[in-house]
Amino acid sequence: MKDFEFHRPASIKDAVALVAGTSGAKYLAGGQSLLPVMKLDLAEPPALVSLARLPGLADIRVDGGTVAIGALCTHDQVARSADVAKAIPALAALASHIGDAQVRNRGTLGGSVAHADPAADYPAALLGLGATIVTDRGKHAADSYFKGLFETSLADGELVTAVHFPVPRRAAYAKFAHRASKYAVVGVFVAETAGGVRVAITGAGATVFRSAAMEAALTSSMTPGALDGITVPADDLNADAEASAEYRAHLIGVMAKRAVAALR
């Protein structure tokens, strides 16, 4: 690991200014994605701006039809939140299966959302629920936020401060975890929302995506059987040593059915 500057500002404004002031500087939240790549010298940021002292970013608020979760909330915090469990049980359950206990104790919602790992779990919930990503300078709808492999609509230096999840009527997340890394080989989030049925798939492609065919089928009948014969083409899916594209395509069908069966 190369030497780097380390800052711990006390305000969002200072944090944003520090990242803007050094080319290549990175925000550091839980460090569960950034630090491993730095240890391997795959990322060599000249400065890290720790978010640990920023006030008010680790709160969870349920307000009417929205669950607002601060960017610095750890996965464990979300998994154990009685408020989240009551409003969107699928979201609490999703958080409880991210990585392992060590990752959940350090990793944050904001870090995961900003990093946009194609195999991360949270993006499925954001897209599946039609969440809103709140930043220091505005808001992004999940539908237009995830652009590609590790690519989002965030501008350079834009800091995620919270995510607002609309409370669905019912939702569920079914994940097929990589045996070694515990990332999602395929994760499917199914939700019945005010705006209709949403099916978001993570782990399988370059970034999280929705399946219009599954949404249409489930709009007609919210049953596992409604998904019979509906496939996601394997052509654009990820392939690696753990799972071929063909197997991932198959798993999408299986996980989607299991999510439908688990809706609550």
Partner: protein
Amino acid sequence: MGNAQGIGAAVKRKEDRRFLVGRGQYTDDVTLPNQSFAVFVRSPYGHAKVNGVDAKAALAAPDVLAVLTGADVAADGLGGIPCGWLVKSKDGSNMVEPPHPALAQGKVRHVGDPVAMVIASTKAAAKAAAALVEVDYEPLPAAGLLANAIAPGAPQVWDEAPGNVCFDWHIGDPATTDAAFAKAAHVVELDLVNNRVAPNPMEPRAANGSFDGANDQYTLYTTSQNPHLTRLLLAAFTLKVPEHKLRVIAPDVGGGFGSKIFHYAEELLVLWASRRVGRPVKWTSDRMEAFLTDAHGRDHISNAKLALDADGKFLGLRVHTYAAMGAYLSTFAPAVPTYLYATLLSGPYDFPAIYAEVKAIFTNTVAVDAYRGAGRPEATYLLERLVEQAARQLGMDRVELRRKNLIRADQFPYQTQVALQYDIGDYQATLDLALAQGDYAGYPARAAASKANGKLRGFGMSTYIEACGIAPSALVGALGARAGLYEAANVRVHPTGSVTVFTGTHSHGQGHETTFAQLIADRLGVSTDQVEVVHGDTDRIPFGMGTYGSRSASVGGSAIVKALDKIVDKGKKIAAHLLEASVADVEFKDGQYRVVGTDRVKAFGEVAFAAYVPHNYPIETVEPGLEESAFYDPKNFTFPGGTHLVEVEIDPETGVVEVASVTIADDVGVIINPMIVDGQAHGGLAQGIGQALLEEAVYDAEGQLTNGTYMGYCMPRAADLPNFKVGNHVTACTHNPLGVKGVGEVGAIGVPPAVINAVLDALAPLGVTDISMPATPEKVWRAIQAARAGKGA
């Protein structure tokens, strides 16, 4: 035995407190005054010419002390890393034994092959400078996979080994085996791959070498399972210095599983570099380096045929195996697929004829050498897959087919057709115990319950044997070992009656500080708290051959017992004097010397005190002091065996295999500490299940290790495993004084075929007949798809 801490007692591990509170002292914890640090520049290619190494920029970097290369190794006359075992081919010729320079000279032959060593006053500086070393590589075609290396026209790892063959060896009688097959009613045949695995001890390898120029004295701290052998090889072959000028210390070692038996180049290089730079030099492997440079295990491709008569009695076995050696021959590598593998092919069965051929093959990969079980898991996997296939093919009950062919208790000692003579066992008893403990009778109900939940349940078993306590020296010498395989012990009774035991075995997780203390408690009647067990330091311990092959209790423990016998005998003479009795009338029991049939006694502590304060003492005939040494060279291997039962549940939609239950019944001989025996069984089972379902070190054709991180290489975790049911049935080993056999490897040996047999049992109704290890979800799913497609067609 009259002592609550003696043999058979579940004494809690004395060593665990320091491990649990983080106060163990591992090699990397040792930082010497004026310490410097080494980082290696390693080949990124599986096979390449090295046209030059330019170290100018690295040498100019801050805090750099030296950059050393293969040319420096050659100029200073360092010896190549030797192989400890010579195997001869069928035609009597010696195996091809290529040179293994400590730093590459002219060519690199696997990813991770060290090319240069950068030494700096901080690790960060060494790492930064290593990135500045420019190596001019000219990539060559590589034989990265065993399957490629044996193909006609394959790239040559060594010019002197045509077809990449290191040796072409055989064992058994081809003529009687041919005759057996000629009269067979049934022949069952399987092609099998035993998957390559990376050892992954929790503590990566490390070495810290220092040279004291004032005294010409070298000291090496290293993560070794056998510091004396490392010293011997350094002194005689690689560093070439007098043995008494070299101290090797293997302090706390965090697991080895075989991978830390061997003498590695880094051990030599840190000592040599320390002499060159005038400062201690420390190297600590990181995890990715460990994947690339620790000797791997297994990696066989085999064809096996079993001949049976019409009643299912085994008539003969014919095996052909290709075994990967890697690019260089590691310390025990040639012994693993020969004397630790093919000699075990009779398993626990009565075989009238066996013939096995083994071709050892060079590959452009890191070396393959002993890994927990070493050869015996490969033999067991082959045999138990074959026996299961026979039961299926012949329509016979899997339990009864085994029962019919197991060696009966009245057949011991049993001479196999592949050199070994089993001294004792009771394979029917362990089979019955396992079936009872595993509620085999209740299996159909469990299978029905799984089916009702949409899962496929399968039952698999293996009946296995292994050879432990590798010895005797004369035999292994005749088989090509270049070292003896005895063990040494020194028992020092202190004046106040406490005891220090010096053992040549090495504990890196086995709990010797407890089990060996129990031997002392048992024999001398002292508390285990009064005993300290010292290992891992060549300056403190007389000699030793280390710990591997489940040899510590049977060989090392026996050496301790021999020394204890001498202590007791000497004490008897002292006690007789104190008790004014004749030696013949004194007995020793429960920590007391007693004049037989009287209440005249001297406690052991009183006798020890008299030995050191010999005021009233038989000084004319008995020397003062109470300290004895012993060497023990066993008459034979020991032969643990047993039955392992596994039930799996498979999710047919995803192919995920869940291990639903594991029940084992082993005969590991006399049990010193049942808790530690259970723990060893658990650890071995975890690794065996890991090999069967999760683990595989995957090289590609170019010799790149494609999954050398924990993001890709799947280690077993607690959540992957059920609670194990472990039972024991004891027959005492006939030829060592403790009656012990060994337990360190049984889990890794017995369970992999039981897991795969269970998977195949679950999938049999769908028409799946074969699956290879590891049985990953996609592999299982594909097998199901292929079987369904085949049925539909």
